[in-house]
């Protein structure tokens, strides 16, 4: 019975049908399934399939957006239940995320945030056009496992290097793993500026984040 509902949840995300996700979540709660289990067995597998399909070029931005939309709809039902049970979503690690100074591109960075959240990371999103000093101050204050830096322009990707430099100067470079991404960013660029991780897309970012936390 619950296997069937999990399959329904997973498929609704993969098919990009947020209303079906919402209904299946309702059904699962009505069947007495624990919200944490709904997330782990029904929703996360769905988001991961969407992410994998995106990574291999089968899915595109609209598919990710609509899946994230379904996930959010489900969470509007699940979050109050989790609160009732005083459960927090188990954290796979904490990630501080932002788009570098001079760059105001939001969507790619937010999708990485959504995928990380869907996979159990606690994500703190600093938004776009984030000054280098803010990244440094927030790393000091929040002590995240990972700092994610997004840059979408060839004119602003240099700021990723600046942030890493500033972390080193502040003496906190070894306290946090830095991962970088964005359309013009490449693996060789990530290596050149001394980042700990690079991923081509949101799903890749989840894998890299898992590896970085495990280190």
């Amino acid at each position: 019975m619950s296997q069937e509902i999990f399959a329904k949840l997973t498929n609704s995300l993969v098919d990009g049908d947020p209303d079906a996700t919402f209904e299946a979540t309702k059904e699962a709660l009505a069947a007495g399934i624990e919200p944490m289990v709904i997330i782990k067995e029904g929703l996360i597998p769905g988001m991961n399939i969407v992410g994998e399909k995106f990574s291999c070029g089968e899915y595109f931005l609209p598919d990710l957006i609509i899946a994230a939309d379904g996930m959010q709809k489900a969470m509007t039902l699940l979050e109050p239940e989790l609160l009732k049970r005083q459960q927090a979503i188990e954290s796979a690690g904490t990630v501080l995320l932002g788009t570098v100074k001079g760059d105001i591109h939001e969507i790619g960075k937010s999708l990485v945030g959504t995928m990380l959240t869907a996979n159990g990371f606690k994500v703190h999103d600093l938004g776009v056009d984030v000054p280098t000093e803010t990244f440094v101050a927030k790393v000091k204050e929040m002590k995240p496992d990972i700092l994610g830096l997004s840059a979408l322009l060839t004119t602003t990707m240099v700021m990723q290097r600046e942030v890493i430099k500033a972390l080193t100067e502040a003496g906190i470079r070894n306290q946090v793993k830095v991962m970088v991404g964005g359309a013009p960013v490449t693996r060789s660029w990530a290596e050149e500026i001394g980042a700990d991780g690079y991923a081509e897309d949101a799903m890749g970012a989840v894998q890299i984040a898992r590896q970085l936390v495990a280190k």
């Binding site: 990009g16 291999c56 070029g57 089968e58 595109f60 931005l61 609209p62 598919d63 957006i65 609509i66 100074k101 001079g102 760059d103 105001i104 591109h105 939001e106 969507i107 937010s110 776009v128 056009d129 322009l153 060839t154 004119t155 602003t156 240099v158 359309a183 013009p184 490449t186 693996r187 060789s188």
Partner: protein
């Protein structure tokens, strides 16, 4: 080692240039004036600057190159020009796909400007020759001859340099040409000669130029070309990033290759147009006025101003007010003292070209007491798309990064609007695929209007869902390496005996482009509190905008659904606006007033932009089409 200079031969164009071993092959091509497509501006990510090593030695393959090329291609000597550096003299083969190709350009909008009060005026004067009884200087002599027309006037230094010689060869009868109250040109009197004005629209991708008779308003010649700066990056940001990475070129126009290339490009167009006119009494010296429009980055690069700050938020222009620069300072081959007028810019991504575009589109509504309360949307589609909305007698503008997909870039079989490009597509109810190509040649690729049609037709034939995913409802939809695609033309019907296909990736590129445009439209409407159906008119400008099927654009949600009689496709409105300003002082004044009056909305940090963009990626309900 960095001081070693190598000679680079570029085949089959037959150019050669010399570069140091720390300069890339892309730089060699740029120095030689060979237009290699470089979409990313030389950072090794776009893979468009493919060249083949014929002879010589290059730096080792980079990681990006190893990822780009197959083993076979590596054996054949393929390299990315931006990633390879010479280690000896080198012969390179540049494959045709890496070169910017000649293509159809937008030169319509033939109608004559309505206002006619040119700032330039010529008068013919007979100057009394000097004699033993009249020892006045040549200039004093000229001033007194002109006195009935101009009480006093300024004289440009270049005029003084040729005054005495010219007066004597012309036997003291000359034509004097004034811009306002400055003498900017003197020519021998010639009843046949004309005075001309140059109007130019510098687009990120294309340049359109016109030579206009300043006394009749007639267009005497027109010419178009690719923007030669494409060799430095396909979009504005890539070109800015090129300059950020080449600090030695910044600071002065004489060292700035992007500035020099556009000036050279314009000089070539001027030469071509003069040849077309083919009138021995008309030379570059007869071109005595010019108006140049372009987006803010093109404007700045043309004028030799810094663009680095335009590449980084908050994207501030160096100058927004109107400028007049003498031709000789810019190196433009027209009368040296002619003033080149650049209308005002509105913001970092809404430039003088948009101001020019508003003159023939929104301004006639704005200025007409009976129509000024209309709601009018004007959209100039390009690599950057600018949109303005007239509502409550206020103009609000924004700019969207729609990208070059409509020019055929980033589309697997995409091409510019050249012969053999599929420009119209239809899928019949019995599943037959019909298409039309430019110049009716066998199809070799698909241009923007064709892609737009194809996607709208596939969506309405249920071959695509609202997310842009293929549905297996047609024999030509197939799965290739896990990915769905649509065979538009089978191999035996195409001009190159290869299939022409559209992939999900291609569909997605168009979704991104049209999503950006629609998000811009929605935010302007939202800010004005308007519903799309309250629009009285929607004006589509720009080369691509002229050729598209508006209905297809509505079907995929690029534009809101409106009755077609409220839609106008006006061609190169920016070029027409530039000609209006060339012929009218009043229009120049209006342009400045409009630029000041316009309310600009920066979309990228608008709180609703991400939401609207995400929503606009999807195709709208088909029921709206009824």
């Amino acid at each position: 080692m960095t001081n070693i200079v190598h000679t680079i031969h570029l085949q089959p164009i037959g150019r050669r240039t010399q570069i140091r071993s720390d300069q890339s092959l892309l730089e060699a091509a740029q120095l030689a004036g060979v237009e290699i497509t470089s979409i990313c501006g030389g950072v090794g990510v776009c893979e468009s600057c493919r060249v083949r090593l014929v002879k010589g030695e290059l730096s080792p393959l980079t990681m990006d190159e190893q990822n780009t090329f197959s083993t076979e291609e590596i054996q054949q000597g393929y390299r990315l020009a931006c990633q390879a550096f010479p280690r000896s003299d080198v012969i390179l083969d540049i494959p045709p796909e890496s070169l910017s190709t000649p293509q159809r350009l937008q030169l319509e909008s033939q109608q004559k400007p309505s206002e006619f009060d040119p700032p330039v005026r010529r008068i013919q004067v007979a100057i009394p020759a000097p004699s033993i009884d009249d020892l006045r200087s040549d200039l004093t002599r000229l001033r007194s001859a002109i006195q009935p027309f101009y009480e006093t006037f300024d004289v440009d230094y270049a005029i003084l340099q040729k005054l005495s010689t010219l007066c004597r060869t012309a036997e003291w009868t000359i034509q004097a040409i004034f811009k306002d109250t400055t003498l900017i040109q003197i020519l021998p009197a010639d009843p046949k000669s004309k005075i001309l004005g140059l109007a130019v629209d510098i687009g990120t991708t294309k340049v359109a130029a016109y030579l206009v008779n300043l006394e009749t308003g007639d267009i005497l010649a027109q010419a178009g070309s690719m923007n030669p700066q494409i060799a430095f990056g396909e979009d504005v940001i890539s070109r800015i990033s090129y300059l950020i990475n080449h600090p030695e070129q910044r600071g002065h126009p004489s060292t700035n290759l992007l500035h020099q290339r556009i000036i050279e490009g314009l000089n070539n167009l001027i030469e071509k147009m003069l040849a077309e006119i083919g009138d021995s009494s008309v030379s570059s010296e007869n071109i005595v006025d010019a108006v140049v429009v372009g987006n803010t980055a093109m404007h700045h690069l043309f004028a030799g101003l810094s663009v680095e700050q335009l590449g980084i938020s908050p994207y501030v222009p160096a100058v927004s007010e109107a400028l007049s620069i003498t031709a000789k300072e810019l190196g433009l081959n027209i009368a040296p003292s002619a003033e080149v007028y650049l209308p005002p810019n509105i913001a970092g991504y809404v430039g003088a070209d948009h101001v020019a575009m508003l003159l023939p589109t929104i301004y006639p509504y704005y200025a007409d007491p009976n129509r000024k309360s209309s709601n009018v949307l004007a959209i100039d589609i390009g690599t950057n798309t600018e949109i303005s909305l007239l509502h409550n007698q206020q103009i609000t503008s924004c700019s969207c990064a729609s990208g070059p997909a409509f020019e055929g870039a980033h589309i697997q079989f995409g091409m510019r609007a050249a012969p053999g490009a599929i420009e119209r597509v239809q899928i019949t109810p019995d599943h037959r695929i019909l298409y039309k190509t430019i110049a009716d040649q066998d199809p070799v690729g698909i241009c923007g209007s064709g892609i737009l049609d194809a996607i709208a037709e596939m969506y309405f034939a249920n071959l695509l869902d609202a997310k842009g995913m293929f549905l297996k409802n047609h024999p030509n939809v197939r799965i290739q390496n896990r990915n769905m695609e649509f065979v538009l033309v089978p191999a035996d019907q195409s001009g190159h005996h290869q299939e022409i296909i559209l992939t999900r990736r291609d569909v997605n590129e168009i979704q991104l482009a049209k999503g950006a445009i629609r998000a811009g439209i929605n935010i302007l409407l939202m800010e004005a509190g308007l519903q799309p159906e309250e629009l009285d008119a929607m004006i589509i400008a720009g080369a691509f905008g002229t050729y598209i099927d508006i209905k297809s654009a509505m079907k995929i949600g690029m534009f809101p659904y409106l009755p077609l009689e409220r839609c106008q496709q006006v061609g190169n409105a920016a070029g027409l606006g530039a000609r209006q300003m060339l012929l009218s002082k009043r229009y120049r004044q209006i342009a400045s007033e409009l630029a000041q009056q316009i309310h600009y909305i920066e979309l990228s940090n608008h709180p609703k932009f991400s939401d609207e963009f995400s929503k606009s990626l999807f195709f709208p309900s088909k029921e709206l089409a009824n």
